[in-house]
Amino acid sequence: MKSITEFLEQTANTFPDKTAFRDDQTALTYRELVQRAKSIGSALLSSQKRKTAVAIYLNKTPMCAAAMMGVAYSGNFYVVVDPKMPLERIRNIFSVVQPFAVIAEEQLLPQLGELTDGLETFVCEQAARTEIDDAGLLAVHHAMTDTDPLYCLFTSGSTGVPKGTVVSHRNVISYTDWVISTFSIDDKTVFGSQTPFYFSMSVTDFFSTIRTGAEMVILPKSYFSFPIRLIEMMNRYQVNTIYWVPSALCIVANLRLFKYARPEYLQKVLFAGEVMPVRQLNYWREAFPDLLYANLFGPTETTDICTYYVVNRTFTDGESLPIGNACDNCDVLVVDEDGKECAPGEEGELYVRGSFVAMGYYRNPEKTAEVFVQNPLQSAYPETVYRTGDIVRYNEAGELIYCGRKDFQIKRMGYRIELGEIENGAAAVEGVLMNACIYDPANDKIVMIYEGKAAPDEVLSGVKKRVPDYMVPNQVLKIGSMPYNGNGKIDRVWLKTHYTELEAK
């Protein structure tokens, strides 16, 4: 099969009346999901556009899943933008991906303001009632190949312009082959979904659900601060598999939640997106020793994941969990600065090859050429591999260990953040001359340091208008003048180690 919609239909034929997606208010069976997706796809056909972006401006609901599949039916690719994203970021995303249409909830459309100028707008509920054009959808399907784009997913770019990774049907099919077989995902699986649909981690539970007839329970974000409700909901729908960012798992551990409520049906605990602290993992393992725990690792550019480690031994606090070994049908290389393979134990950059490697960045040939490169270990035939920018090494057990990022990029709460993008936001604030953003991993704090006559709260509110919530600095400090290093660059190393002295002043 060459497309995700074929897999969806196969599942719907086998399990028509089984729930596919539900949240705390609504649910869609597979039959309903296919019907709505085909209707939305049919509504989009009139534009005659193919392989072009359609923006989805919906909350994380079962209907959003139908819209995503609807775009796939129409032969186009989707870009999910969150109604809580700042308009400035959406504007940046739109300027890169140039959608021809946007699908939105009716009451959300006005929020987009002039961003919908020149776009076809579809109210989701109405589009989902469009008469299905079977012949039209079939013609689209005949013309497509599995290398056509399925979605474009944005991470933050260092120049302030976000980068949109284009992921094909083939990427998702190859990737989910691995997910499904490795973690035995089937129609008995009930996922408790935590990650947003505009985040690469959601690809894992979303498409494994669609391919196997599993059920995805969308856990409301707010329940992570009211965790008794979270566990109640997981038990109500018998959630047995979760794939969360470590921050979410840590919330549960730090609150010692299992003294008060326990997820009764849980079998598998998968995590990725940032480093999982061993202390909190141990809390989970002590409370539930028989569950499967796995640490997954990878970037958006390899669909979601390239290596994984199933926890098979005891770790003590302060030890780091391995990121393990390459997934099946995926291969990783550890390469030194000269483009040679590292000796075992030597640190090098992680490169990924195989069918998980995405198509590249949308309308950004320069950035694409920087990181989607010829395999440095062979020159006999063309073979594109992805340079992750992650520094890794093999331990004595032959497992990969994550050492850090090659550049200033940080990972926080599972989101990839380039500090440069926050700096860009601050630079746009009136009264800011120079600024630098640093990350203090010990305190998990993003600190913005700036020079200029603007007041700190003005800088903060200016930044808030330009970057998503998870990038907003925790602290804003004014400095008389920036320190510079020998190269004439802002001395970030000094700032990182001395910012607490600025704070004291």
Binding site: K84, K221, S222, Y223, F224, S225, F226, P227, I228, S247, I251, N254, L255, R256, L257, K259, Y260, A261, M413, P456, D457, L460, S461, K464, D469, N474, Q475, V476
Partner: protein
């Protein structure tokens, strides 16, 4: 109360917590900041905030948070 306001401003800078009465509904306190807040309160006030205290009603305003801390101290 002053100590609490200081903590609130650390977690979410740029908000006047003496005035806001709907911290949850308005989205000022999102899931992550509530957790950060609870961790800091537990440290600074040396009280045990349990998951049972984590209900939206306790986080509507600085006053309700303060009441929750006082109840936890008893």
């Amino acid at each position: 109360m002053e100590e609490l306001l200081k903590i609130l401003n650390e977690v979410k800078p740029g908000v006047d917590f003496t005035k806001e009465k709907d911290l949850i509904g308005s989205g000022i306190l999102d899931s992550l900041s509530i957790i950060q807040l609870v961790t800091k309160i537990s440290d600074e006030f040396d009280v045990e905030i349990t998951p049972l205290d984590l209900v939206p009603e306790n986080f509507e305003s600085a006053e309700t948070i303060y009441e929750m801390i006082q109840n936890a101290e008893d």
